[in-house]
């Protein structure tokens, strides 16, 4: 019995959408170094659609995999859908996370919601 599902290991070993978007118009950062995980999401939003998304994560295997999966789930999606993203959707897409790692998927949800709040603040638009 492995620690993580194949999906988690795949997203951990080959994380999608890693990096920074220099001209991102929505950035969300959550977590803290003291607790051992920080996630930062960079979104490029055009016409209410997430046209590009990248992430940076300091954290364990499931934190990196959760970030990667979350970016996949929102890329190309309208903001109305992105707003509905839950940690459950992230963990389910990863074929589950161990109980004590569920907070990693929560962090991914929070990072994206934080980016949307940043977008609202920058644009005055309510998502």
């Amino acid at each position: 019995m492995a620690l993580y599902s194949e999906k988690v290991m795949d997203h951990f070993r080959n994380p999608r959408n890693v990096g920074v978007i220099e001209d991102a118009n929505a950035i969300g950062e959550v977590g803290n170094a003291k607790c051992g995980d920080i996630m930062k999401m960079y979104l490029k939003i055009e016409n209410d659609i997430v046209t590009d998304v990248k992430f940076e994560t300091f954290g364990c295997g499931s934190a990196i995999a959760s970030s990667s999966m979350a970016t996949e789930l929102i890329k190309g999606q309208p903001l109305s859908e992105v707003r509905k993203l839950t940690n459950r959707a992230v963990s389910e897409a990863l074929d589950g996370l161990p109980d004590y790692k569920m907070h990693c998927s929560v962090l991914a949800e929070e990072a994206i919601q934080a980016a949307l709040e940043d977008y609202e603040k920058r644009t005055g638009v309510t998502v």
Partner: protein, 394 residues
Amino acid sequence: MIYADNAATTRMSETAIETMTSVMRNEWGNPSSLYSRGQTAKEIIEKAREDIAAVIGAEPREIYFTSGGSEADNQAIISAAELGRKKGKMHIISSAFEHHAVLHTLNKLEKEGFEITLLDVHENGVIVASEVEQAIRDDTCLVTIMYANNEIGTIQPIREIGEICRRKGVLFHTDAVQAMAHIPVNVALDNIDMLSSSAHKYHGPKGVGFLYAKKNIVLTNVIEGGAQERGKRAGTENVAGIAAMAAALKEGIDRMPENAAHMTAMRDRLIAGLREIPHSALNGCSRRRLPGNVNFCFEGIEGESLLLLLDDKGIEASSGSACTSGSLDPSHVLLAIGRVHDVAHGSLRLSIGEDITEEEVDYIISSVKEVVEYLRGFSPIWRDLMQGKREFIL
């Protein structure tokens, strides 16, 4: 695979496996039975007791077989506490970075009214003997200090502490689980009253260990139910495990001089190589250190992802990060030597074995360098550090 987690457990030696399987197959009697099958089994454990006593400077009747190091720690501490309680001495001295088998037992005693002093282990992870002396009070019933730390490998001044305790008339226990068969341990020379040891840390089987207790010490039972171990530890003896432990210990001690020399050289090569990684730090003193222990913190990364990627490269190691412990806090050992949470999460322990080669050490160095650099490449902390938005700790 390169197994670099020998502080967690070791591979059983061929000698130990042969001894164990032979005893299981041929000498399966109960040592408490009076017919000869039972008595033969009894002879096996008594021979093991003599052999173990001889290599640590004890008398056979001072060796009590247990299920391992944790049980031995529990029994030693509880026994000393009971002796102290009878005399109205309810103060115990220990250190902040002991194994949880010690710390959790002390927590339990604290709830029963004992007062516990945990000594500072300083930045180098080495206790100062004179600070033990200063902490001893009229009502101190026990000093319990580990021989060598399980995470950072630092070796404590056991002989000096033992000498102080003897002079002050205070019982001295040491958890020698990591030290035994890796560095010289002698209960007579080291002034030790009680000592815990676990077979699987020196190529013996899991589930067996022993407690050494000086002959005048009356032990308190942790497990009741029979007259085994002179009435101090009930339960039919793990005959095969005990025989294999004695065989592994003797072999380990016989080979210690050459093994320690080789491992120390490999350890120092590994430390020198990993020190080249910017913003990293060795945890614990580089000299007063077990021959096989290397423990580093790398700023800007987290330990579990480091371990998983090293596993992909065929290297098995461990970390003191919270994510690997299942708790929210990183290793209490790293916090005790003053590492802050931020960097304690990025720790890596490599505990190499006797058969490690120079090529393997070099492969570990290049792999760790590669993985640390890769993880830093998308770490938001590392970005902030590099852009001056956050101050480097290491």
